[in-house]
């Protein structure tokens, strides 16, 4: 666990220079609060899950294929990603140039009692992303790694995977709507002008 040192509240915002330039799908729990922290609780350019664990990457892929002229991000945690790790292979096959994944990996199941997760033991998600066939993969484990990864997030000419390793400090405490239909409608109104 020696390289899980960065604080997510400090580092995550540095990866995304202008959050409003992106459509974002978040996995449940910490990742949704990381994104709410930069987009606001009432932001309409992101769709945050509070369940459906394992679906964030695939949902992001569906959105990216539907909106090829927009930059689409999936922000999710290590546990959420591991539940459907095969999604990385699906993403690699489709390889949409407007899509990227940021995995905020704290090596723990933070919502359930902070049990050590697989990544806290031995699993390396960046290696799994490379193995799935994703070409642009970056690991951010110290301050010096941030600038290059932020450039990949901003540049976006091929699908990317940023593996952000953080300590188990909590994500921002932000209250947001858990109404999955309301947030869908707000997102679609903002993007498509229709409910």
């Amino acid at each position: 666990m020696s390289d899980f040192v960065l604080d997510r509240g400090e580092v995550f915002p540095k990866l995304i220079e202008n959050p409003q330039d992106y459509l974002i799908i978040t996995g449940l729990a910490g990742a949704s609060r990381d994104v709410a922290g930069i987009c606001g609780a009432d932001g309409v350019n992101y769709y945050a899950m509070a369940g459906a664990m394992g679906g964030a990457v695939a949902m992001g892929l569906g959105l990216a294929l539907a909106q090829p002229d927009k930059k689409v991000l999936c922000v999710t945690g290590d546990g959420e990603l591991l539940m459907n790790i095969g999604s990385l292979a699906t993403v690699a096959v489709m390889n949409p140039s407007n899509f990227g994944i940021i995995c905020v990996d704290n090596g723990h199941y933070g919502e359930t009692g902070n049990q050590v997760s697989h990544t806290g033991h031995s699993t390396d998600l960046a290696v799994m992303a490379s193995g799935a066939g994703i070409k642009q993969v970056r690991t951010v484990a110290q301050e010096g790694d941030i600038a290059d990864a932020a450039a990949v997030v901003k540049g976006g000419n091929a699908t990317f995977f940023v593996h952000l390793k953080v300590n188990d400090n909590p994500p921002p405490r932000i209250k947001r709507s858990l109404d999955a239909n309301y947030t869908k409608t707000e997102f679609r109104k903002a993007l498509l002008g229709e409910a």
């Binding site: 369940g51 949902m59 892929l61 569906g62 539907a66 909106q67 997102f187």
Partner: protein, 180 residues
Amino acid sequence: MPFDIPTPAPGDPTWPYELYKLLKDAGVTQFSYVPDAGHRVLIDLSLADPDVHSIPLTSEEEGVAMAAGAHLGGQKHVLLMQSSGAGNCINMLSLPRLGKFPFLTILSMRGDFGEGNPWQMPMGKWVQPVLESCDVMCLRVERPDEVIPTVEAALTMAFQSQESVAVLLSQKLLGAKKFA
């Protein structure tokens, strides 16, 4: 140039080609699947068609989440799977249910009429009660002439009424796989 759907070979069933045309005419642009022989024609047509996305999945539940993402972005998605894949989708079905996302899946049945592989029987028997208990409406098709009207009805309920709908293509329609 628009994609021309090829003519079926003599003796081949025509409904898979008519079904592909129906889905495309209804505006479906994303076809996802874990491959199954019962969906061979639809999968091959989506792969050959430059106007749609043809997406191989590692697990069927990815298609449930992708369909919701497609709707957020204004596209229509259909998930093609074998009946055994229904079990992989259960938790993810909470997303279309809770968010009122349109969800349409077409299942090719194993483990029903004339099945010779006992490993297919459990999910074959469970798929409809399990999906219905997750509030997914199931429409079963047994004859070629039922395919188009049934999927037409399913498209309307999914994309206009924001329901989760599964069309089950039975082995009476598809024919049971032969085992020696």
